[in-house]
């Protein structure tokens, strides 16, 4: 039970929710108290997830820190949680991102109480998904993680200007593309559509396994009929794939992430998209080995489309947040490609990329938020020469960018390299080439943006004259994220060690490991 009898995963999961309740009941009209409670609650989660990370016994492997309490014995629903190497890494990622997210959005002014309460509730959902070992519980947490987003974007978001041109211009005008209400609605509808698939899939598995238990571990033992496997896997892929941003179901992501407030973008692009990939790997591949083999060619091929298409789209954007959002689409391609290779290196790379991309995209959105807060603009080609005024932000942006383009000694490289190795060893070795080309395209758009915004002559007058650098609490977020990027880039074994203990059993079940 837990760690030395302490239900540590429960603590990690529910600490943010406790913070949210506390905020709603005690901290009315005390913005500072709201932030402090949020920082403490997420700080507890971060601290405990580091403890769990260190305490994880790599030799024993499997799910550890196991807890189980029966909830509805009649239907076989229980509060059953535990963590293996993959979950651990993602729990740590979540904790890091939300902790820095609280600091990066220190300046949210309007209704900060409700903002933080919703944000923390959402995080509880995310933690819950990563540690759930009961499919029903998994789905509950999943919805908890997805739904508050509507309010967070709809109320605290920002709107962008999209010029309604092209053949469907009237449709763009009519639906109000670019407005935060549009973004919130689009994101919610897409993700709810996805969860409908997931729910059907989960129920189908529940029925196929005898209808007596939602337990993941019990379902792992059940051998599902090949037909069930094939179609349920497709349901999972479609459902989770929406959240993972697979092409062509990705378009909620740029609009949603661009409109969302800083901490929400960080969390959503940094962690929630991983939720989708995690779902595919954990439920899809973990429970449906034959289904996986049926669809793996499709997954990998779409992933390569994601990589190239996302990078090219990112290059075409003029709004900084859209660039970052599309880069997420591109990088999620690496995650899914790695998983689709069904090789040790590829799967490790996939999970590592979930972590690496989470951190770097969190850093990016934090920075974009800061730049926007100071310059009140996200139009890349209107900015220029910010490096002299905000060297700290410029440095952090460069670090994030370098990780994004897969520069060695950053976490991004390790993930991409492992994925490359896996891709060439997979049954579709041609996947390697678009993946490698994607890194070049990333280099093109990232450095172009860095050059345009931070380099060049500093503006001597006008609206961008004399902007301040990041300060105070904001540095906490930036330094933490940069540190993690470089640390895991230089010592990847920190993450690969635990990940490997979880991917090997998975590959064994998939028959891809002797």
């Amino acid at each position: 039970m837990g760690l030395n009898g302490v239900p540590i995963l429960t603590l990690i999961t529910w600490a943010p929710f406790a913070g949210a309740v506390l905020i709603m009941f005690t901290a009315r009209h005390h913005p500072l108290a709201v932030r402090l409670i949020a920082a403490v609650a997420t700080g507890i989660s971060l601290l405990l997830s580091v403890v769990v990370y260190v305490a994880y016994d790599a030799d024993a492997a499997g799910f550890q820190f196991y807890e189980k309490v029966a909830l509805v014995p009649l239907l076989g629903i229980s509060y059953e949680i535990g963590a293996d190497g993959i979950s651990l890494v993602l729990v740590l990622l979540t904790a890091i991102i939300i902790f820095s997210g609280v600091f990066a959005s220190w300046t949210v002014a309007t209704r900060s109480q409700e903002f933080y309460a919703l944000l923390l509730t959402l995080v509880t959902g995310v933690f819950g998904v990563f540690v759930s070992l009961d499919l029903f519980l998994f789905f509950l947490f999943y919805e908890l993680a997805v739904l508050p987003m509507y309010l967070l974007i709809g109320i605290w978001g920002t709107s962008a200007q999209i010029r309604p041109r092209g053949i469907f211009g009237w449709a763009i005008r009519e639906t109000g593309v670019g407005s935060k209400e549009y973004a919130a609605m689009k994101l919610t509808l897409y993700l709810l559509l996805g969860s409908a698939f997931i729910l059907v899939g989960i129920l189908a598995l529940y029925m196929a396994a005898g209808g007596s238990s939602f337990s993941f571990l019990e379902m792992e033992g059940a051998a599902f009929d090949p037909v069930v496997q094939r179609w349920v896997f497709l349901l999972f892929y479609g459902g989770f794939g929406v959240l993972a941003g697979i092409w062509p179901l990705h378009t909620w992501s740029p609009d949603g992430h661009s409109s969302a407030p800083t901490a929400v973008s960080m969390l959503h692009a940094g962690v929630l998209m991983k939720l989708g990939a995690y779902g595919i790997v954990r439920l899809g591949m973990g429970l449906l080995p034959e289904g996986t083999h049926d669809w793996v060619a499709l997954i990998g091929t779409i992933a390569t489309i994601n990589i190239i298409y996302g990078a090219l789209s990112a290059m075409a954007q003029t709004d900084l947040k859209y660039v970052i959002a599309y880069s997420s689409v591109s990088h999620m391609g690496i995650v899914l490609l790695g998983a689709a290779t069904l090789t040790e290196a590829g799967l490790n790379g996939s999970v590592f990329q979930m972590f690496a991309h989470g951190i770097m995209t969190g850093l990016f959105f934090a920075l974009v938020g800061l730049v926007y807060e100071k310059a009140h603009s996200r139009e890349i080609f209107r900015m220029g020469g910010f490096g002299r005024m905000m060297p700290g932000i410029a440095t952090a942006f460069t670090v994030g960018g370098l990780s994004s383009l897969g520069l060695p000694a950053t976490a991004g490289f390790v993930a991409e390299f492992l994925t490359f190795l896996g891709a060439w060893r997979s049954t579709h070795s041609w996947w390697l080439f678009p993946a490698v080309a994607g890194t070049f395209l990333t280099a093109v758009y990232v450095l172009r943006v860095v050059k345009q915004i931070f380099w060049g002559p500093a503006p001597l007058h006008g609206e961008f004259h004399d902007l301040p650098d990041a300060k105070g609490p904001e540095w906490v977020a930036l330094v933490l994220l940069m540190f993690v990027i470089v640390l895991f880039g230089m010592v990847p074994g920190l993450a690969i060690g635990p990940i490997d203990t979880a991917t090997l059993p998975l590959l064994t079940r998939l028959g891809a490991w002797p």
Binding site: I167, F168, K186, T251, W424, V444, G456, P457
Partner: protein
């Protein structure tokens, strides 16, 4: 006696420590000169370690020393390791890197004295990172680690070219350098991945052993080695990826001396040298390397003829000399190529630092705005002349011996056409370098301001390098090098003669004005125009960038916004419109709704007829 592994790690660790300190301790970095002192001290330590290592190495026991730690864990042993691999090549290269780094950093303290303290701190942080990365590259024990440091030196190059990031040209040049080398690196990483799939390891030692035992699967190895060579093409500025190097001259001159002349650009040559046992398995790739090298040498020499910017002349000469080294490697004269790498590292650093002293004094890069500087700055003139003579390949300077060895090697290797190209390049090299020397130091013209010799902190490194350039050559002249022995005896006179002819022609043209440069240009007008336009390669790449990449991205962006997302919005808009239409049924009049009730009643009744 400290063992070789420890020394290597010390050489590697000191600059890294300095970099971490400078990166993390902001007050130290913002202190400027203190940061410089720390960085110089660290790289000085590295130099010391490198020298000890070099002197003691052959006695250290085995002829290679290897240390390795697991880096990427995997089931059943590490997937990849990091470590150091020291052999005689690495030891010598280590000395060169540490030495030039040390001298250049020292020189920078004087050269960049006008910079603000934070900028200076940043500069030295980058330099420390570069020293660490370059030493790491030299000591890398496997392909993956080499790639890691390979990219890191690329990063430093990018950051240092863009050191004056407020200058739009510098910003553009930095990004261009990164992109072009990255394009080559795509090949490198593909090659590594494929090689790993083929051989199951990244390690040099294991791979060489497999090559020795003939257990290395040869299928596809040509492709793999070609891909790895592509990395070297980008980094070592070989045709057709040489275009970034001249633009990289936007960086501070010491940076050009260190990174874009002596060390980083030689990394490609070092890579081929390092992996030579593998390249030996694929003779077709080697031939290609030889041809590309010779062609790059010739092409860059012609480009060097028309430049007005002193640093650009030197940049093209770097491309040209790198071509020599590659040609030697391609022809099998690996010793000669590596030897030229070392001597070139010394005299090209010298030339750049000398040029830097001139630029520092005059305030411009344009050679036509200089003239008669020898009188004003004789020390600079002398050391520059030493460097130029070495570069031109005049006995008894270092360049003569290495270049001679290369020519002999290429001839012996049977690459006749490349040999002719290289021989022609000897003439052109002497011509364009002495063109610079005469125009800048001797010919009429006047420079603005009051040029004077640099202070000691800059002069010291200059004289050190000049001494080494001359000293190494004299050492060979007296002791007789091992490399030039096995060529036909006519090669030395030929190359010396060609070089002297080039000098003489330059003297006639630019000193005596006996030959009109304009007339020469008119004679070979197509070539002249082509050289001025850099053989349209930059235009081609610009076109690819703007037309293909940006064009494609525009198309994809459009498709995404207006088709992929557009269809979604269309469905959404149709739903909204449909709702709007349907809304009008709701007239709000109760009686109209009753019609609905009546129809419903009718339906129920009619439906009941069938039941």
């Amino acid at each position: 006696m400290i063992d070789a592994g420890t020394l290597a790690l010390a050489a590697l660790g000191l600059p890294f420590g300095a970099f971490v300190l400078l990166a993390v301790v902001a007050p130290l970095r913002r202190a400027g000169r203190a940061a410089g002192a720390l960085s110089v001290a660290a790289v000085g330590g590295s130099l010391l370690a490198a020298l000890i290592l070099w002197r003691t190495f052959p006695e250290a026991g085995a002829d290679t020393v290897e240390l390795a730690w697991s880096w990427l864990p995997a089931e059943g042993g590490a997937l990849a390791t990091v470590g150091v691999l020291v052999d005689s090549v690495a030891a010598v290269m280590l000395v060169l890197v540490a030495l030039v780094s040390f001298l250049v950093q020292l020189y920078s303290l004087g050269y960049l004295e006008d910079e603000t303290a934070p900028a200076l701190g940043r500069y030295f942080a980058y330099h420390s990172l570069f020293a660490f990365s370059m030493i790491g590259l030299v000591l890398a024990s496997n392909f993956l680690q080499m790639f890691i440091f390979w990219e890191l030196v690329g990063l430093c190059s990018y950051l240092l070219i863009g050191f004056w990031y407020a200058k739009p040209e510098a910003a553009r040049a930095a990004v261009k350098a990164f992109w072009v080398t990255k394009a080559g690196d795509l090949g490198f990483i593909l090659g590594i991945v494929l090689l790993w799939a083929q051989a199951g390891t990244f390690g040099f030692s294991e791979l060489f052993k497999m090559a020795d035992d003939k257990t290395l699967p040869l299928g596809g190895l040509s492709l793999i080695m070609f891909l790895i060579y592509l990395g070297a093409v980008g980094k070592s500025a070989q045709f057709p990826l040489h275009v970034w190097l001249p633009d990289a001259m936007e960086g501070p001159t010491p940076v050009s001396a260190l990174i874009h002349a002596a060390t980083m650009v030689a990394a490609g040559v070092y890579l081929v040298t390092r992996a030579y046992p593998l390249f030996l398995q694929t003779p077709d790739v080697l031939v290609l390397i030889g041809w590309v090298g010779a062609f790059s040498a010739l092409l860059a020499a012609t480009l060097g003829l028309v430049q007005a910017d002193i640093k650009r002349v030197l940049a093209y000469s770097t491309v040209s000399q790198l071509g020599y080294m590659m040609a030697a490697l391609g022809a099998g004269a690996v010793g000669a190529g590596f030897f030229h790498l070392l001597t070139h590292g010394l005299f090209k650093a010298l030339l750049f630092l000398g040029a830097g002293a001139v630029i520092h004094a005059v305030g411009t890069n344009d050679i036509w705005k200089m003239g008669r500087l020898f009188g004003a700055m004789p020390q600079t003139g002398i050391v520059f002349l030493v460097g130029t003579l070495a570069l031109a390949g005049i006995w008894p300077f270092a360049g003569f011996f290495s270049k001679d060895a290369i020519l002999a090697g290429v001839w012996e290797g049977g690459l006749t056409v490349p040999f002719l190209m290289l021989a022609l390049t000897v003439f052109l090299t002497a011509f364009y370098m002495f063109r610079v020397v005469f125009v800048v130091f001797f010919a009429t013209g006047h420079a603005e301001g009051h040029p004077h010799d640099p202070p000691l902190v800059m002069g010291g490194p200059l004289w050190t390098l000049a001494g080494l350039t001359a000293g190494v050559g004299i050492l060979f002249a007296v002791g007789g090098g091992g490399e030039e022995a096995h060529g036909p005896s006519w090669i030395s006179p030929l190359s010396l003669g060609l070089a002297l002819a080039g000098i003489a022609f330059a003297w006639l043209t630019y000193q005596r004005r006996a030959v009109s440069a304009e007339m020469l240009a008119r004679r070979v007008r197509p070539l002249y125009v082509a050289a001025l336009r850099k053989f349209w390669l930059d235009d081609l790449y610009g076109g690819i960038y703007r037309g293909v990449i940006l064009g494609l991205s525009w198309v994809v962006g459009w498709v995404d916004r207006y088709l992929v997302d557009g269809l979604v919005n269309l469905a959404s808009a149709w739903t909204m419109r449909g709702g709007d239409r349907l809304r009008r049924i709701q007239t709000g009049r109760a009686q109209d709704y009753l019609y609905g009730v009546a129809f419903g009643l009718l339906l129920v009744i009619v439906w009941s007829y069938w039941h």
